[in-house]
Symmetry: C2
Subunit: 667 residues, 2 copies
């Protein structure tokens, strides 16, 4: 006879209106891909001893800096081998816990080092380096950020000075603030790095270029003379990774280690500017694409954990009957339904948008191979906006999901202890989000009034001129929802363009005008991105095969749209009266309706992501719902408790040194 | 000759329009209090070896569960002794790192155990227990939450069954979900606990009552027979504290250990209901008051760290001049000014509101002593709303401040690694925020239409009926700002009351109607709280002595008001057209003006909080601005780096076991 929590979970799971497996196939692109992925996780989890979910996951035991790093090396090595075996692998971009893989000391090898080679190396260079990288005979990282310099790449200080006599570049850190700082694996794991440094020839500065630098001896792994390497210490998360620092003192590399696909330096020091100017940035574009098509899995995981917990966690008495002490599952409360189902809706919205943006990126890359760069600007802008939006929605959503779990969400064993800080990191790395939104805004204001538009900005050419929508409009109608989103973003973008112009006519420089209107510009970029996301979501549903699956996705899509209008960031929709108080009531009623329809599908939706218990690593989010028993089993396995039991129930060191003196304090 | 960062800080500090010391006196209530506080911090920091800020703070070295706990015991014992010496002490409610003190294993002794005694014990009981507590001969905690039960106190399962034969109560945990879970210090530090349990006499359940339970022998500190004690494992923060669990198996205590200030049980088992029904809840009210008057210090700290970092951190080229690689301090960017100064404004708003609410609480307590409970309902409601609002604004703000520091904000040594999770914890503990808002909402809808109003709800009686404000209204005028806030919250509260009524007339039960309108109810409660905060802020400034200080506070107050209208949560202001697009432009222009005026005062504002470098424990937020040198000094002191230097630059264990096999992998 299953206990109460398990029963509650079984009941909740039984109510679904669709087969979760069918939605799983939609998410991962077919049954075959689903099975391949499942197999990979099974192999890795077995290898890492994570198959028994009654065992306290190692990461929730002791958590010393060194232990966490060793744990990262342990599963990093396992996934690294997996990748070498299988060629392309799920674990390129995610860890066994489904985080972005720069939580692994080896993660950047496949996430940035190898891609950078393919993007930046000349054919001859690629022929030499790629086999070494892909066979794992070297372990690479990507080395750009410095202690004093981040997103603004032009500000980097590290120099690579050409010395004609020896045909070498001298890599050097001229100041403390030029110390390379942050790259994953740089501390102790990587043997090589692609180092971004200022190319200097005959004391002329040619700007930032990529160089391959060997950091450690491949014999005993000692750092090469001329480089100090180390770990940057504890972080909010990612402590399984040795994000490191490198301080160069006249380290010499061959001239041929400048990656010369575009710009080149000849034997005599002649600099030849290649065709592709912005090539050095394209590694960042690749990394942003990966983030966009993977980050939302962390939101889906967070929503999965919190939703499963909410159907078994009983608290409060919904009838406000002070005589009645019976409690109900917190998922019975509409606020909880609203919070969790909107998070789930966002996860799906980001999924379909990610697939869409990913295909745009691939198309552009193919185009670049043909030396056609017309798509670079719009795709670069869109990637920037999507990177900011998807990571922001994921980080905020994961945190809200944690709060949906009340106090227990604050336990490491909830899974949120790793999930939230890992998600939140991505909001900053690979381009700070507010900077990203500004890059998109730059592009959008340029688009205003143009006849030629990119597919994603088409709607800016003819901004919806209807002054407001009728109160009778069917708010569940995709076209109506799109109309509302397009009207808002078009209005905000056009207003920004006008404001910038007006301020410049009042005598401000473009930069001053930009700084003055920066808040509106960011709001406009965010609104445009949200419009792109909704469009992708709506378009993607059309092709879904099973009616029942399409129906639930339609509801999620409408919930995503309407909750965005009615929610905290919805002020923009109201500002010009296109939407007003008149519409808020029907919008709220439509949301109520959608929630009623979606509640029975909540658990099936969590199942559709097909997360293993091991990869969720959450005592609250386990598939079977057996929360409390598992929590106590895990708690009793906490090493500190195991040790103290051996000491007869007293934490001896602490008692002798600190508690006893306090207790005995004579006053 | 100071380095560049130090110079930038000196320049920024020199621009202030007021003496930070004069504002410090306002914050802490006079020069004497400031000096006393400064002295306390000096003593404790010396005692803990934290005076030399060039040394890596211990907490940023190794971070094993056990090490963190031992560190907590170390400074917990130090502040505990301080408290015993000085009687009332700053360290009642904060740690040396300025967190709420339930990050100390001994924190709840003064934060809840002793207050609970004063509130719940009979005079005779107080006479016996208080001296033991205040002399530290026992160490107490407060034991309410259970594994399966939290905010809904009536749901607690732990039983205290009266046994007439032995004149004892039997404390028992009937189920796994009834395990006491979470109380600070319960794991290994506390000797006694006030345990909330269901009072059962002759198998009749009289509901939850407070009992004093001894947990450990005062000789060798072993757990008493009948109780299993342990730590609940790693958490997102607060790992310096042994938040613990307790599982009771027929543990016996004398009948007289029921705290009998109100309800009593006589020798023959007769139950006598006392006058004060809700007394058992008053310890939570006290704890909420402490949270409200202390939590915002964490927001002020976060804003201090991020603002100081922003004046020395140079990034980007404000002129968008691609030829120019010179960078500017990020505080030159208006977005950064807006984010940081609004955070600072909120910190001050919460400060003055906290002082106001604190005085209302004290007045009510005095009233209760006279057995007058008329203020209980309104103060309970206000405390609930303020607890939710202040912790939410602090947690969100601390996180935003972290993001303002870009990548480096993600380092533990930024200080945010402890600050953010500690702040965010308070949003859940002592009453989950959404539950808190609902408690206030319950009170507010009852107030609608009443002739009798509490001082804080007075404005609900005559809601501002003006349909909109004139576009010419002076938005910097406090009365105009108040009018806008009152109109919004009055409108939302009245709409909720009407909606509840309408839904009930449509046949819903009150509970169903409540659940249906829960989102609006929470929005209304939040809006009302914000109105109370703005009112307190405005009122408090009037009494400030120095003109220059009053002027800067006025600007912060206006920035708080206007940024709330224009910001993410501002949609409610726009919904009924009282404020519309017409006003948004002048509001934005007023905000621009305020930012221009406040920017020169930014560093002086951080100084006015008078945080020591040791209590900030941040390499980014140090007073002198010497960020990069300190970061590298601290980084080189990271134990992992010290160890690896001894190993010749190679992390031997990791290399031998994981890296070497990968590198050598034959394929």
């Amino acid at each position: 006879m299953p206990n109460r929590q398990i029963q509650l979970m079984q009941n909740a799971r039984a109510q679904a209106s669709f087969h979760s497996q069918e939605l799983t196939d939609v998410i991962y692109g077919g049954a075959a891909a689903v099975e391949k992925r499942r197999e990979e996780f099974r192999r890795i989890e077995k290898l890492l001893g994570r198959s028994d979910t009654r065992k306290l996951p190692h990461i929730y035991g002791e958590s010393g800096r060194t232990e966490q790093y060793v744990d990262g090396l342990r599963w990093g090595a396992a996934t690294f081998r997996e990748r070498l075996k299988c060629g392309e692998s799920w674990f390129d971009a995610v860890t066994p816990h489904h985080w972005m893989n720069n939580a692994s000391p080896f993660g950047l090898h496949f996430l940035m080092f190898t891609p950078a080679l393919k993007l930046l190396a000349s054919p001859e260079q690629l022929e030499y380096w790629l086999p070494l990288a892909e066979s794992g005979r070297i372990i690479g990282t990507y080395c750009q950020t410095e202690l004093g310099h981040g997103t603004f790449v032009r500000g980097l200080e590290t120099t690579a000075t050409f010395e004609e006599a020896t045909d070498e570049f001298v890599i050097h850190s001229p100041t403390t603030s030029s110390t390379k700082f942050w790259p994953g694996g740089l501390g102790y794991a990587a043997s090589h790095a692609i180092v971004m440094a200022r190319l200097v020839i005959k004391s002329e500065d040619y700007g930032v270029h990529p160089f391959i630098v060997q950091l450690r001896s491949l014999e005993d792994y000692t750092p090469l003379p001329g480089v100090e390497l180390g770990d940057i210490g504890l972080k909010l998360g990612h402590n399984t990774n040795d994000n490191g620092y490198a301080f160069f003192t006249h380290l010499r590399i061959p001239r041929t280690h400048l990656l010369m696909r575009s710009n080149q330096v000849l034997r005599d020091g002649t600099f030849i500017r290649g065709p592709i100017d912005k090539l050095a940035y394209s590694t960042m574009l690749f990394a942003r694409k990966i983030i966009i098509i993977r980050i939302y899995f962390q939101l889906a995981q967070a929503a999965t954990i919190a939703t499963r917990y909410s159907v078994v966690r009983e608290q409060g008495n919904i009838a406000f009957d002070s005589a009645d002490n019976a409690e109900v599952p917190i998922f019975a409360f509409k606020l909880q339904q609203y919070r969790l189902l909107t998070l789930m809706a966002r996860a799906f919205a980001l999924h379909f948008a990610g697939v869409h943006v990913g295909s745009l990126y691939e198309a552009r890359l193919a185009q670049q191979e043909r030396d056609d760069h017309s798509e670079l600007a719009p795709v670069h802008a869109l990637l920037a906006g999507m990177k900011a939006y998807s990571t922001q929605v994921t980080a905020d959503g994961a945190e809200d999901a944690r709060k949906c779990c009340g106090g227990h969400g604050y336990l490491a064993m909830s899974g949120f202890g790793q999930l939230v800080p890992t998600a939140t990191a991505i909001a900053t790395l690979e381009g700070e989000n507010f900077v990203m939104y500004q890059q998109l805004a730059r592009f959008l204001v340029k688009c205003v009034g143009r006849a030629e538009q990119h597919s994603t900005t088409e709607y800016l050419r003819s901004p919806n001129t209807v002054s407001d929508i009728s109160p009778e409009a069917d708010l569940l109608e995709p076209t109506v929802q799109l109309g509302i989103f397009r009207h808002r973003s078009a209005r905000l973008v056009v207003e920004c363009a006008e404001a910038l112009l007006a301020s410049q006519q009042e005598g401000l420089s473009f930069a001053q005008a930009w700084n003055k209107h920066i808040l509106s510009l960011i709001a406009a970029a965010r609104a445009h991105t949200e419009t792109v996301v909704l469009t992708a979501f709506i378009d993607s549903i059309v092709g879904v095969q099973h009616d029942s699956v399409r129906a639930v996705l339609r509801r999620l899509c409408s919930l995503f749209a309407l909750s965005s209008i009615e929610g905290p960031n919805g002020g923009d929709f109201l500002a010009d009266g296109y939407i007003s108080n008149v519409h808020l009531r029907p919008i709220r009623e439509s949301i109520d309706l959608l929630l009623e329809e979606l509640v029975p599908d909540a658990i099936a939706l969590t199942d559709s992501w097909n997360f293993t218990d091991a990869c969720l690593a959450s005592a609250l989010g386990c598939w079977d719902g057996d929360v409390y028993e598992r929590m106590m089993e895990w708690t009793r396995q906490v090493p500190l408790n195991v040790d103290v039991r051996k000491m007869g129930g007293v934490f001896k060191p602490g008692f002798e040194q600190y508690i006893k003196p306090v207790l005995r304090a004579k006053l």
